[in-house]
Amino acid sequence: MSAAPHLVISGVSKRFGAATVLDRVDLTIRRGELVTLLGPSGCGKTTLLRAIAGLAPPDGGTIALAGRDVTHVPPHRRNVGVVFQSYALFPHLTVAGNVAFGLKVRGAPKAEIDRAVERALSLVKLGHLGSRRISALSGGQQQRVALARAIAVEPDVLLFDEALSALDRKLREEMQVELRRLLQEVKATAIFVTHDQDEALTMSDRVAVMNKGRIEQLAEPRELYARPASLFALNFVGLSTRIAGQVVGGSNGTVEVVTPVGRLSARGAFQPGASVIVATRPEQLRLGTGDGANSAAGRVRSVVFQGSRTLVDVDAGAGASLLAELSGREAELPRVHDEVRFAWPVAETFAFAAEAS
């Protein structure tokens, strides 16, 4: 993976009537990078993808792909590959006919087309189905044909618009892992659009969390999970414990917050008196008091066993609740109605401005 910028989106805006769907979005993607645009429906992620593909030109800003300004270049002169949610496979063509389409319309010689089709189909493990009709394929197979069709033209960037969401859960999870391996194998630069956080964390080198037409955070999956930049990013990716409180003091990037469950320390920079939400991830919580750590007590409301982990929901009083994830190695799990105390490290506690979202 080289560091050279491959796709540069700067200040891209898009309005539909009075609604601003994209609000001056900046995003730079390196060659060979797999990036996910993650967000709820209406956050602008699909519109951004369509702007990159040339299907919905932006109202403002520029898009440069492989060193060329393509902002106003029509889609057929861009060299992008798109895998649609509905796949949009041509029903009047065979599997091989679909995969060959891009090369045919570019006027490639027949021998080259045949080679490329064979290669693309074998990459997605459908080498034996070239002469099938599209209607004779399962959903998973259609997904693979759509992928083969998009990679056959060797596009500068591959765009996936909720491409896995039509598959059932088991197939989708297998496809996530396989797709990531395959894209790395062909050294493709790819952008996925999804509202599925698991898909985003599994498939991408970096995740862009989008909200209201803006990118709230762009980070590697681990960092996004461990260091969410906003309350929205925290809520959208993974589970968390969130407690509202008021800042009473602090120093060196740490604030002291008074909350219904007691005084807590958290990472953040706020003036005394500010209303904040203090949050942490459930696996940071441990039974006991902990030394120099945040801690809170309450009564167990529910215990949900999920195999390798157990989720414990604790009523900490005054409307606050704690969510703890305990591993299967824990000696003894609490039971419903037990009085328990949890502790968690200050370094893994974040404070966010309360008025956001």
Binding site: A53, G54, L55, P74, P75, H76, R77, R78, N79, V80, G81, V82, F84, S86, A88, L89, F90, P91, H92, L93, F101, G102, V105, R106, K125, A136, S138, G140, Q141, R149, A150, V153, K170, L171, E174, M175, E178
Partner: protein, 288 residues
């Protein structure tokens, strides 16, 4: 991921008993179709080759296919059918897209303008055209009044009148089947083709046109079989000087009292319609 997660569709052969039961259910429909469609056709075919003096004869067919006059009649029918179909298609194809794109009240109004004329008799519509096109008709009167022309233009009883009237009357049968297909067309096909490098023109010829073919075939089959056998339209809009198979059949039955000859002309007309419709369906298949 292995192929095991993508099981092949299970195809089970129906046992004979199930097939028998299935036939039992369709038997009444088969019977009705046989009585209403097959029997009259068989009678028509029979009458066309039976000699009233006894025996079988091909004299009627020989007269139809061996006389220059009747070959001209056949050509007139074919020409009317082909021209009407072609012009109706050229108008209907873009119209179907416009109809599919239209929203709300506009769409309802456009659909109504297509459907409502179907409720009026073809005789009424043909007469309406004669009123418009006559030498003292609406168009000539207006043109003279405005001063564009001094003497009336001859429009009625011309081939132009015939084709204009036929296209107008049969147009809905072309627009509606194409519209039905276009309205179902997923816009993503065109987008996918564009991202794969197809220019708008290539998208049209390689994707849109093939995907809308079923509607086109249905429209062509309907309009051609209606216009090739039209009787009222040529009778009222052009008359004696453009004899067609349909007007020849009517004359054979009503004036000449030659049911055998009329039946033979009917069989030829039917054969033309079947051949052209089958041909258009075959030609439109995507070449492999």
């Amino acid at each position: 991921m292995t192929d095991a997660v993508l099981p092949a569709p299970i195809v089970k052969a129906a046992p004979d008993r199930e097939r028998l039961a299935a036939f039992g259910f369709v038997a009444p429909s088969v019977l009705i179709i046989a009585l209403v469609f097959v029997l009259p056709l068989a009678l028509l075919l029979g009458v066309s080759v039976l000699d009233p003096k006894g025996g079988v004869t091909v004299a009627h067919y020989a007269r139809l296919l061996g006389t220059p006059y009747y070959l001209g009649v056949i050509w007139n029918s074919l020409r009317l059918g082909l021209l009407t179909t072609l012009i109706a298609f050229l108008i209907s194809y873009p119209a179907a897209f416009a109809l599919a794109r239209a929203r709300g009240a506009l769409r309802s109004i456009l659909l109504a303008t297509l459907f409502l004329p179907l409720a009026a008799s073809v005789i009424v519509k043909a007469f309406a055209w004669t009123i418009l096109l006559r030498s003292d008709g609406l168009i000539n009167t207006v043109l003279i009044a405005v001063g564009i022309i001094e003497d009336p233009i001859r429009m009625i009883f011309t081939q132009t009148a015939l084709i204009v009237g036929a296209v107008n009357i049969f147009l809905p049968f072309m627009v509606l089947p194409i519209y039905a297909v276009v309205a179902q067309l997923d816009g993503r096909y065109a987008e996918a083709a564009a991202t794969l490098g197809a220019s708008p023109l290539v998208v049209f010829f390689r994707v849109i046109l093939p995907l809308t073919l079923p509607g086109i075939i249905a429209g062509v089959a309907l309009v051609f079989s209606l216009s090739v056998s039209a009787y009222v339209v040529p009778t009222l809009l052009i008359g004696e000087k453009y004899p067609t198979l349909a007007t020849t059949i009517a004359k054979a039955y009503l004036l000449a009292r030659e049911p055998g000859f009329g039946a033979a002309a009917g069989v030829v007309l039917l054969a033309i319609a079947i051949i052209v419709v089958a041909l258009s369906a075959m030609l439109s298949r995507e070449p492999k």
